[in-house]
Assembly symmetry: C2
Homo-oligomer: 146 residues x 2
DNA sequence: TCTCATTTTGATTTTCAATCTCAATTAACG
DNA sequence: CGTTAATTGAGATTGAAAATCAAAATGAGA
């Protein structure tokens, strides 16, 4: 079981890319913050560790993390890309509260099977999917309605 | 069965918004072009009818069409918003070929039910969802693999 | 039909995330 | 080390979308 750092280093080496302190710090900070971070948010955290690291490097490294399989890009219709950890994390979809943005991870094997079936029926081979359920969480409903 | 034009006029009146030639032309052109149009694409078509109509007005009107329920915004991860007709059009999701961008509209009642069930289980009330299946269509596979 | 407050328009500027550019720096490999 | 190719940070650039604003148009009422 390789650590994420080893995993990333291996990936970089395999791609003939360089292992730099910036990349390792960004990975480190990414791993420490669970959830669904935007590049901007990650940048803010990264600066605390090393304020000399630039925006562009965070953007670039986040792409590398996604390419390596360590991170996965998600989007919740906010106009910014978010990234979640993906190493050893099982596939899941999202249930998002439109009011407070709380995000719950969900999976339903039956849905996954039906998606496959639907694609096949149209002659497609599935490479991936995106399913986001939008709604109002219990707390927000309590506050909202009345 | 009101026509789309009547529907839109009624909506505008109800919102105390004005019925303008620009809005009616944009609606007209939107209705004539089926599929999933971007604002840019719609703008190009609109110019043929009236070249004095501006970009901004197309953006603004497309939003109004969506607000009224005549149009629905969709996005296929291209970085541009697209709109499809929504008046009297049943809900559906999309199956998209990642290579040629061909888009097939799909629905599966069983999936819709399971989505509802999943949301309820987490205490949410669903307001909507987005499900996009990405893959390779039969033709593209034939060309691609070999 | 005329008046006129309010809305809308087109041109333009602005925003904002994301990407690109480039000269200076640095990692990697022998 | 020394060489070379990759990387960096700062700043410029992009592109979609939204905001601004003065001029024009709508439409409710007189
Ligand atoms: Mn997640
Ligand atoms: Mn559609
Ligand atoms: Zn909530
Ligand atoms: Zn295809």
């Amino acid at each position: 079981m390789p650590t994420a750092h080893t995993f990333f280093s291996d990936y970089l080496a395999a791609q003939k890319l360089k292992i730099t302190p910036q990349r390792m710090i960004i990975l480190q900070v990414f791993l420490e913050n669970e959830g669904h971070m935007s590049s901007e948010e990650l940048y803010d955290e990264v600066r605390r560790v090393d304020e000399s690291i630039g925006q562009a490097t965070v953007y670039r490294t986040l792409k590398l993390l996604a390419d390596s399989g360590l991170a996965k890009q998600v989007d919740f219709k906010e106009g910014v890309a978010r990234y979640e950890q993906n190493l050893g994390v099982a596939h899941h979809d999202h249930l998002i509260c439109e009011r407070c943005k709380k995000t719950i991870e969900i999976v339903d094997e039956r849905i996954e099977r039906l998606q496959e079936e639907l694609a096949v029926r149209s002659g497609f081979v599935l490479t991936g999917h995106r399913m986001d359920l939008f709604g109002l969480c219990a707390e927000c409903r309590r506050r909202e309605d009345v």
